[in-house]
Amino acid sequence: MPEITYLEAIRQALWEEMKRDERVFIIGEDIGRYGGAFGVTHGMLDEFGPERIRETPISEPTIIAAAIGAALVGMRPVAEIMFMDFTLLTLDQIANQAAKMHYMFGGKATVPMVIRMPSGSGTGAAAQHSQSLETLLMHLPGLKVIVPSTPYDAKGLLLTAIRDPNPVCFIEHKLLYKSKGDVPEGEYSLPFGVADVKRTGKDLTVVTNGMMLTKTLNVVNKLTGEGMDIEVIDPRTLVPLDRETIINSVCKTGKLLVIHEACYTAGWAGEIIATVTGSRAFDYLDAPARRLTGKDCPIPYNRGLERAAVPQEEDIEAEIRSILQGVY
């Protein structure tokens, strides 16, 4: 299986789906000759032409509204928002139109569209270009929220997203674009609502995704050498959420830690913890369910402060140790 980057995996999925289905097109800013802010659509203009690689003015509401309209009349748009932060400009289009139409028209109209959006900090892009806003989108019924953490998942989940009859938010962490992994050539799809147990263990369940998954796995590999046996679960899709896998895991380990880069207050870690404590797993908890998250602050531009604002490997290690040692 060839090893390619996360970015290439996304491009492969787009490329293959556009080859397969002429209704699929891409719309966004600087996605043509420039190849997109992160280079995802590099080379696609030459292959597919300006009709299907549609560049727009700097107006996110236009991108989303045009995509919704196209979807309603049978196209399969993939909209690219250059930074997830700008999604906020389009919340009316996304929340009040795209998310609700299928329901409000009793299924007579559907909005099969994908909105790709790079998220997260770590690039020195400061407070307006570094947010992790997935929880906002999770709170809007009608939307699916996908957070792929590996190249393999990115390709398989994007294919599923493009073929889904409803709007899908596809959140890509900026720092993952250059990460590498084995990705099959040709098409394969990964189902929504199925978590991936990255490694099994019996001492602690850690639920995390995106860049935090990479960090967590580094820490867990180190701690495994010290005899700690940690289970790591990547939900892969936050909506729909594979609650059962998480509940089963906590029933086995008795301890839960949820890690995300998004801010603490009302972050989705609370959703996972409430899911667990409200389930039969409650009776298996042998420690308080804990969360490690980004701080409740804008992401700072200063490099040191930017690091401090979101969990780093040393924070993850300290938190896992304190849970397993019963010190909290």
């Binding site: 008795g254 409650f282 009776d283 298996y284 908890l285 042998d286 420690a287 019963g326 010190v327 909290y328």
Partner: protein
């Protein structure tokens, strides 16, 4: 306005009390803080003092009545006041006297928020002090903090203690801190959580603590049945230490017998003194500890530790007394025995063994021992050998005092005497047989002729 006299709440978990007797009666003049009646909770009898100075009036309950705490039981009238001066709300309560428990509870206490106008601070204070706001006299239109403070100051002492706020991070009194998993396991295995020791943060019971409990093991047919205990906690510690001791120290043991006639006489006399002074009795162990300390001072190698190739002859004599617990053994140490009187040793022994059984010993109570005494005499054991308590070098096993015939003089006269058997186990790396024998000889001399210690 008449001051309401309420049934005080003296225990955290107290809900009611029984009136035992009224020392004062309607119409009597009482002074604030003067005892007016005696009540009885489930635990103790308590003198209840007057909340204010004035005339006792409107007694509503009689001896034998069981009254919920904070119920008004009477009023104190100031000069010129009568029961008619009670505010309307209270009058309904004042007359007629409600039937005591267990008949339907008469004083339906209005909820402080709805029935009585009070400032938020006053309402909060009322909650904290467990007050019925209806009973707090208000100076103005609504009850203020000053009113509550005045009311509190006027109340009898025991009730003034605020309801203890929950200590952050600790389970409220009466609740058992246990994880959900521990609770489930306890439920499934039908074992109570009460009394279980928790290994989690702040003593919380973890799943592992329940798993560690012995439980019947379902054996396949024909297989042997057994209760299975994991070796853990104190048991593990004892196992490790005793194993190490027997492995590291070549034990030699020597036994002597001592006639305790005169020591017992001395003890009897001391107990007469103790009774006269209202003090606790002096045990034989306390007397022995004193003599042992004296003998140890004369035989420093018995008061020694061999650590990392060096022999430490300790200057202080700290004698540990092996104390049996329900589930193990602990050796609290009497520090600096040399400087203590038998009286002080006896008191320390009682204190240490009590706290040992209540699991309240601190680290300093079990550290720095230089010698250990183990007494199984109370079980009728005549003689036994003990295992040295490392890093100490010797331990004395004390048997029962047995009355038996012994030769008491040069003429081979036989008499019945109380005889005590003492067996010393010593670490031969530090202590030779002769050294151990000299120590025992001194010990016997000190026991048989207690005045030797004064010489």
């Amino acid at each position: 306005m008449p001051v309401p006299f309420i049934m005080p709440k003296v225990d955290m978990d107290q809900e009611k009390a029984t009136i035992v007797s009224w020392n004062r009666h309607n119409g009597d003049f009482v002074k604030q803080e003067e005892t007016v009646l005696v009540v009885e909770t489930e635990k103790v009898a308590i003198d209840v003092t007057a909340p204010a100075t004035g005339t006792l009036a409107g007694i509503r309950f009689q001896p034998g009545d069981v009254v919920p705490v904070t119920t008004v039981i009477a009023y104190i009238l100031k000069e010129g006041e009568t029961l008619k001066d009670l505010p309307a709300a209270a009058t309904a309560q004042a007359t007629p006297a409600p039937a005591p428990l267990p008949a339907p509870q008469a004083p339906v206490q209005p909820s402080p928020v709805s029935a009585v106008a009070a400032t938020p601070i006053a309402a909060r204070m009322a909650r904290e002090y467990n007050l019925d706001l209806a009973q707090v006299p208000a100076a103005g239109e609504r009850i203020t903090r000053e009113d509550v403070e005045r009311y509190l100051a006027s109340r009898s002492t025991p009730a003034r203690v605020p309801a203890p706020a929950a200590i952050p991070g600790q389970a409220p009194a009466g609740k058992i801190a246990a994880t959900p998993a521990a609770r489930r396991l306890a439920r499934e295995q039908d074992v109570p959580l009460e009394g279980l020791k928790g290994s989690g943060p702040r003593g919380r019971i973890q799943a592992a603590d329940v798993v560690a409990l012995p439980r019947p093991v379902l054996a396949a047919p024909g297989e042997r049945q057994a209760q299975v205990f994991p070796l853990a906690g104190m048991r593990q510690k004892i196992a490790d230490r005793m194993q190490a001791s027997f492995q590291d120290s070549p034990h030699i043991s020597l036994t002597v017998e001592a006639d305790v006639t005169r020591l017992e006489e001395a003890r009897q006399h001391m107990n007469t003194l103790a009774a006269r002074a209202g003090q606790g009795k002096v045990s034989l162990t306390a007397c022995l500890v004193k003599v042992i300390a004296w003998a140890l001072e004369r035989n420093p190698y018995l008061n020694a530790s061999l650590v990392d190739g060096q022999i430490f002859l300790w200057k202080d004599v700290n004698i540990g007394v092996a104390t049996a617990l329900e589930d193990g053994l602990i050796v609290p140490v009497i520090q600096g025995v040399g400087g203590l009187s038998i009286r002080q040793i006896a008191d320390k022994l009682v204190d240490l063994s009590t706290r040992a059984r209540e699991n309240k010993l601190t680290l300093s109570d079990v550290q720095r021992g230089t010698f250990t005494v183990s007494n199984l005499g109370m079980f009728g054991i005549r003689q036994f050998r003990a295992v040295i308590n490392p890093p100490e070098s010797a331990i004395l096993a004390v048997g029962a005092v047995v009355r038996k015939p012994v030769v008491v003089d040069e003429q081979d006269t036989i008499a019945v005497r109380p005889i005590l058997s003492l067996t010393l186990a010593a670490d031969h790396r530090v202590i030779d047989g002769v050294v151990a024998a000299r120590f025992l000889a001194d010990l016997v001399e000190g026991i048989e002729f207690p005045e030797t210690l004064l010489y």
